[in-house]
Symmetry: C2
DNA sequence: TGATGTGAAGCCGTTCACAGCG
DNA sequence: CGCTGTGAACGGCTTCACATCA
């Protein structure tokens, strides 16, 4: 299960989103209605990839389709939810409640899929005690105890770049399993030197970091505007 | 220049950020000070990749270093700015001024690098006329004329997912060269069928779309928390 | 028959070893 | 001598053709 290409996981997320749209469309229609089924080519067209790719991606996780017919929308959606780990509740804390953190806290859709915001943290005295959503901002010093008590699974990191590393360290030390880093900074897992070789310190073992960097997106865009890809990647051939 | 791996471009953005930090550190020090120079291994350590990777990435753009010495921080930074297209002014409009759009508008750092927000657009009557930054929100109907007049280069798309496609279409028709899409949706360039083959419609020709999807980041994170990569990708060997 | 499932081929990006130069 | 520059090996992802089964 771990030898699935990382790019495939990103596409799975896209497929899931498309399936949700298809399921809404199919809602209420009789079970015999073809709207309950989707072919790899149709999924591919919506996702902007090839049908080959769709079939290969889905096959990593078992025989999810029916030959000659396609994929059942409901079944496939349920399977993708399971694969992506979205069929359980995830307890989330947000660290950093400046504009970005506030935007995240209030972003609709973020609290779908059983993501539950259970705590908000900042070091700015002006923010501590403020309420967002139904939660009150606490000082980051409280983080470690809170994560233990509340069984927090992951932290969203939305502090200014110069504080991102220490805040990430606080999250890892507190015992979260994942960090979604919004700061334009590379988070450095602390390593220990033992017998001359560097190894991951215990607190960072198994901690996953994913990055969402919007400034980086801006800069990639300027590069590609001035250096357009020769082969236009936006029109795959085999779709449909 | 177009056969550079897309992953390399993302790393270039990271290197640039690191170089900015190094240049601040070196500021004021005499020209002979070693702080003005950086070796591939040091850059690699900061970026979380291998020194091989750094050298290969930089080599796509010429002989930027000095053998036996390393890379001059100032020179390398200037080159990366040039390569990434960050040495010119970019006129940007933001479409969608809900919470996310507002957060982007006000996010510090976004207006560095000669990114200039020149227009704000929305279709919500309650928002039109409102001021953010130094700009007043206009109706999206005004977009086409505005892009022509003001020589707009790119648009940031921060509308709700269900309106993303039509707003993207408006941006492309208006003539922007790039779209930074924040909505969790795959933007579909309009294609025309001519003699049985699909081809990109004129208005989408050369339009680059980059995506920044924070919900996708959340979902990838849940997958990797439950399916940790076997080989820990966070500790490359060759750094330093 | 018409779709998925899947081993194999091909391609692209990363890793490497060492050549090249200050 | 040290570090960059770079062609070649390697590995992994994507593409493909076709076997497979409802």
């Amino acid at each position: 299960m771990s030898d699935v290409p990382t790019a495939a996981i990103s596409r799975l997320v896209t497929y899931l989103r498309i399936l949700e749209g298809l399921e809404r469309d199919a809602e209420g229609k009789p079970p015999t209605d073809p709207a309950h089924w989707v072919k790899s080519g149709a999924l591919a067209a919506h996702a902007g990839v090839t049908a080959f790719q769709v079939r290969k991606d889905l096959n990593y996780f078992g025989r999810l389709g029916t030959r000659g017919t396609g994929y059942n929308v409901h079944v496939l959606r349920r399977e993708l939810l399971r694969v992506l780990g979205l069929n359980q509740t995830w307890n989330v804390v947000i660290v950093g409640l400046g504009r970005l953190g506030q935007a995240i806290t209030n972003y609709p859709g973020a609290t779908d899929y059983q993501f539950q915001y259970v705590g908000l943290f900042d070091t700015n005295p002006a923010l501590i005690g403020t309420r967002f959503h139904h939660l009150t901002v606490q000082h980051t010093d409280e983080l470690a105890a809170f994560v233990q008590e509340q069984q927090v699974d992951m932290g969203f990191l939305a502090v200014p770049p110069e504080h991102a590393q220490e805040a990430a360290q606080a999250l890892a030390s507190a015992g979260v399993k994942g960090i979604l880093n919004f700061a334009p900074v590379v988070i450095q897992p602390r390593t220990l030197e033992r017998n001359g070789i560097h190894e991951l310190s215990e607190e960072w073992r198994g901690v996953i970091v994913e990055n969402v960097d919007f400034l980086a997106g801006m800069k990639r865009l300027t590069f590609y505007i001035r250096n357009p890809p020769l082969k236009d990647a936006t029109t795959p051939e085999d779709t449909e």
